[in-house]
Symmetry: C2
Subunit: 157 residues, 2 copies
DNA sequence: CTATTTGCAAACGATTTGCAAAACA
DNA sequence: TGTTTTGCAAATCGTTTGCAAATAG
């Protein structure tokens, strides 16, 4: 899988939470507001699709920091629900800012040739997942789901 | 996530394809019939849930082989559709024999505490996936999906 | 001032690979 | 015998971690 986040983001998904809001969330999470953290959030803020840790690291301009710091922060931010982790099966975790008030999550349709990513609408698994949990007596249920295929461009259509 | 494949397999899922059938499939795939390959298939055959490469390796009795050989073979076998790869998000790929004539695939419900794995019935995504593909002009579409939760035992119910 | 966070380098775990020897067809 | 497969060891890649120095509040 090649590099992600096409140069043509999906406008309807562009999350324009002001950086100040994100900073505020850090504060609420009792996290210190450091340059690396702000920079990471800022990078995510201006991207419409999930980024690899390494990509985030590369995108940090000025306030560059160690790659390990990015990893540590992705952990922390995921833990407090500020970012969402995705796994496209290529061995590198990808992260996306959680849409504003963490309600509906969504999934992706990934082109296996060019890595174009289509952000899908809200997840359709809600009911099914609930029934599943009940049927098997599971609690705290969640899921992971992504779609793969070949996009119109790559098919040469 | 701890060790997988509970001691209580799900009987309705126990695939009892005779080893000879699997061997035959190797032959059709123009693969040489080697001790490691037979042993790997035999291990998978007698397990009702996905196994890690390392677990497969451990389970090989007599005809032990190098771990690298297992990795190489899992690749090959996956390539020819004899086994199916699953990703439970813990960094280790898991493999399962494809159910007999590779028709309906299925997914899993994994306990995040004890790693118990419930094999779910045939996938419900068929239609949805098709519509998705059409809507976005994608071809060769596929997906990855797993459910996670806490099983009745672990919840202490 | 004190707990948190960072940089750096080393450690890790899963997986892959190069190459010569061994095994199938 | 010719090609595929294996063993072994070394290499890769994403990610994690220990520790002392830097920093936010």
């Amino acid at each position: 899988m090649k590099s992600p986040c096409p140069q043509h983001p999906h406008p309807h998904r562009l999350i324009q939470q002001p950086l100040s809001d994100l900073t505020e969330k850090l504060r609420q999470g009792e996290l210190k507001i450091t340059a690396p953290r702000q920079a990471i959030l800022d990078v995510l803020r201006r991207h419409a699709c999930p980024l690899t840790t390494k990509e985030i690291h590369r995108s940090l301009g000025k306030s560059d920091c160690d790659l390990a710091t990015v990893y540590r922060n992705m952990h922390t931010l995921e833990g407090m629900g500020l970012v969402r982790r995705h796994d496209f099966g290529d061995g590198a975790a990808r992260f996306e800012l959680s849409s504003d008030e963490g309600e509906g999550h969504h999934h992706h349709l990934v082109c296996t040739r060019c890595s174009r990513i289509v952000e899908l609408d809200d997840c359709i698994l809600g009911d099914f997942q609930e029934r599943l949990a009940q049927r098997h007596g599971f609690t705290s249920i969640s899921h992971r789901m992504e779609f793969f295929g070949i996009c119109p461009n790559c098919r040469g259509a």
